[in-house]
Amino acid sequence: MSDRLRSVRSFTRVVIAMALLCSASVLSTDSQGLAADLDGKPFDPLHAAAGKVLVLIFVRTDCPISNRYAPTIQQLASRRADQATFFLVYPSRKETPEAIRRHEKDFGYTFAAVRDPQHILVKQSAAQITPEAAVFNASGRLVYHGRIDNLYEDFGHARKTATTHELADAIEAAAAGKRLVGSATPAVGCYISDLE
């Protein structure tokens, strides 16, 4: 038992150093360098999830692949609510809070959404695509980013059903405090635009 505790502590220290390196520029820009909730208030999901695994899912209202994933994403978020805190992230400046609320309702999302018009979370997560997931472990370290599963192999090359489930595996590993083998598997979908 004590053995396990010790190893976790040393792991945490390394992680903190990494997180600082990654988000140095973010910290310096302070509150304006934050994502926002749908009421427009600055919001930091990492802070909100403090001590718990955090899952960010980047989506777009007008991306068909991202939308087609909605039932899968919602199911994952419901089933794994005890293992991780989930947020939807809408990275396009053009998508208004009203449009996002409507989108969440239409597609049956029941967990919170944040806007990331300045791509703060996009950068922290190294996200490029919608839909794409990012998993931060309990210490706030990015441990996985990439596809949700392998339903799509390429544009126009979709499986009937997914056969690998990278996001679920990443959550599982992060919740158990394990290190992941593959930490980034490229997603297929719609590119997140450059800053608009």
């Binding site: 087609r68 909605a70 039932p71 597609f107 390429d154 544009f155 499986r159 059903t161 635009s193 450059d194």
Partner: protein, 615 residues
């Protein structure tokens, strides 16, 4: 961005060309590549208004605008910038615009294909930061008709019930049955298919169902029914020869004069739709807009089908399984359109015409078949193929794990069938046979006959081929051979009412009346309201002297179809034979009301009047 645009274009171009080389074009000479480089605007930065907007307007805007199939609009600079990286990626991979055939000698109408010299500047534009450019360079936005593309249709048909498409799951196939609201034969020159929310529909086909096959599959009238493929049977010689196809961005096709589609009373139109769940629950209630013409069809195209479903038996894991078929044209034809079809394992689909003089020409070649983007391809100019030309179909299939679309995980042995997990190897060509001056025969008949005989060579147990050949021979008066093929069709499917009726009718025509009765009776046992079988059985019984039996059949027949003058006249005769002259007169008179020129009814009525009124 500090790098000069000229330098950037150069560094990007080889990449763009390289993609094209491997993905789409095969070999290219360096001279051609040189030309490509010159096309790209290398002198100044690529701008939206000058360089990109014309490309988007030509190839993307048709679908990428409000209410169309594209998931977002691509009309303005803001639209394009918001999706810039996506546009670059999907065009470079030639995923968009969706266009499967390789460029070849033969051109298709509405070819939705980007040239290399359009793809390169798109890549450069995005790399350079998606610059807007001078607003005065912007060409006028294309004008699209709102609402019905050909104006208000003469008749609008709406599906009786909406279909609820679930939020998730794999591809979904649904058939909507529309009752054609015509009280007489009409000629349809165009049909606009509005499948509902276009973002949910990959493609849709309308089939003409003259025998109401489809509605028998509905759980309740108007409910529609599931299923990927449809088999529509028709007992009349009138091959379903028009492609009524919808894909995203399609504009309704107006048939030229003399080629309208015949729509009879009691005909159903079946919309077979390939749907894709969107992520939220959706409902679809398609509509069809029909445009009539007074000009009946004088030219009759026909669908030539190549297939080899019998060869389709693909071992699990086979990466390259080839299916072929060859058909030699018995007459000169103009090929108007082509429609290759396979399911999820199809990979390389090719059709070639080998001319009698030894030359050959590729009719269509698809390197990476994608069921989702299947389409009917109409040639820009009819392709003339002389008699003796052999059309060959060469389809290859990938049933390995490498094919991510493989519906079976792990791969399974796959054979031909109508389900999504089965395969198909079909190629349809819409051809217009040249009218031969000397022969009186319908120019389609030699093609139908050649196809049926070819199919029987491939598969002696081909039910449809036996039936079609028999029906055709019957029409030509070759009763003996017709009876032989009806007998084969009847042996293969003993309970098929259509065959039992036609077989019975053929036996009746050959004077083998007693043999006809069991077949006509079987047809009626399978389908009690089968008018033709009632009528034929009435005739058979009358020929055998069983007038009471005949009377009973004709009485039912006129109830099924009260507008058939022949049935009324024969009912009159049956009454006359059984001694009920009053009833006989009544039915002869009805026959004459339905058809004032009915010779038999008139003569018999006159005879009856003389006999019963001895003045």
């Amino acid at each position: 961005m500090t790098v000069g645009p000229g330098k950037l274009v150069q560094s990007i171009l080889p990449l763009a060309c390289g993609m094209t080389l491997t993905v789409a074009l095969g070999n290219r000479t360096s001279a051609q590549q040189q030309t490509l480089t010159q096309h790209a605007p290398a002198q100044s930065a690529v701008t939206f208004t000058r360089d990109i907007a014309p490309i988007l307007y030509r190839t993307c805007a048709r679908c990428h605008r409000a209410s169309e199939a594209g998931p977002f609009s691509l009309l303005t600079y803001a639209d394009a910038k918001s999706h810039a990286r996506q546009i670059a990626a999907v065009t470079k991979r030639r995923f968009m615009p969706p266009w499967l055939p390789e460029p070849g000698e033969l051109k298709f109408a509405d070819e939705l294909r980007l040239s290399d010299s359009e793809i390169a500047p798109i890549q450069a534009w995005v790399e350079q930061g998606s610059v807007e450019g001078n607003p005065s360079d912007l060409p006028p936005m294309p004008k699209f008709a709102e609402g019905w593309q050909l104006g208000k249709p003469d008749v609008i048909l709406k599906a009786a019930q909406p279909y609820a498409l679930p939020a998730s799951g794999s591809d979904n196939y649904w058939n909507f049955v529309f009752r054609a609201p015509v009280d007489r034969t009409r000629w349809v020159k165009a049909m606009e298919i509005r499948p509902g929310d276009k973002r949910l529909v990959h493609h849709a086909n309308v089939l003409v169902d003259r025998q109401q096959n489809g509605r028998r599959q509905e759980q309740e009238p108007g409910a529609g029914f599931g299923g990927m493929e449809l088999t529509i049977e028709s007992e009349a010689f009138d091959p379903d020869s028009h492609f009524l196809f919808w894909k995203p961005g399609s504009i309704p096709y107006v048939e030229p004069d003399g080629m309208a589609l015949r729509l009879d009373k009691d005909t159903d139109l079946i919309l077979n739709a390939h749907l894709q769940p969107s992520g939220k629950p959706e409902t679809l209630q398609p509509t069809l807009g029909l445009y009539f013409t007074d000009k009946p069809a004088t030219q009759h195209p026909i669908l030539v089908q190549l297939e080899n479903d019998r060869m389709l038996d693909i071992p699990a894991g086979d990466k390259h399984f080839v299916v072929t078929d060859e058909f030699t044209l018995p007459v000169d034809v103009d090929v108007l359109a082509i429609y290759p079809h396979a399911h999820y394992l199809g990979k390389d689909l090719q059709a070639i015409a080998k001319f009698p003089d030894g030359r050959s020409e590729t009719l269509i070649h698809i390197l990476d078949w994608n069921l989702n983007w299947q389409a009917v391809y109409r040639y820009a100019q009819p392709v003339k193929l002389p008699k003796g030309t052999t059309i060959s179909m060469n389809f290859s299939y990938d049933n390995s794990d490498d094919n991510v679309r493989n519906p079976n995980d792990p791969p399974q042995r796959v054979r031909a069938g109508n389900r999504a997990v089965d395969e198909m190897a079909h190629l349809w060509l819409q051809v217009l046979p040249a009218n031969s001056v000397q022969e009186k025969e319908d120019p389609r008949i030699p093609i139908v006959e050649a196809m049926a005989r070819h199919n029987l060579q491939k598969n002696p147990e081909d039910f449809e081929a036996h039936y079609n050949l028999a029906a055709l021979l019957m029409g030509r008066g070759e009763t003996q051979e017709a009876i032989a093929h009806f007998a084969q069709a009847n042996r293969i499917r003993p309970n098929e009412p259509t065959v039992n009726n036609a077989f019975g009718a053929a036996l009746l025509a050959a004077g083998r009346t007693e043999e006809s009765v069991p077949h006509l009776t079987a047809a009626l046992n399978a389908r009690a309201d089968y008018f033709d079988a009632r009528y034929n059985l009435g005739n058979a019984l009358a020929s055998l002297g069983d007038f009471r039996g005949a009377l009973a059949q004709f009485q039912v027949a006129v109830r099924i179809n009260p507008e058939d003058a022949n049935a009324e006249a024969n009912l009159g005769s049956a009454f006359a034979e059984t001694g009920d002259l009053k009833q006989a007169k009544l039915h002869y008179e009805r026959a004459l009301r339905l058809n004032p020129n009915h010779q038999l009814a008139r003569e018999n009525l006159q005879q009856l009047s003389r006999g019963t009124n001895p003045r």
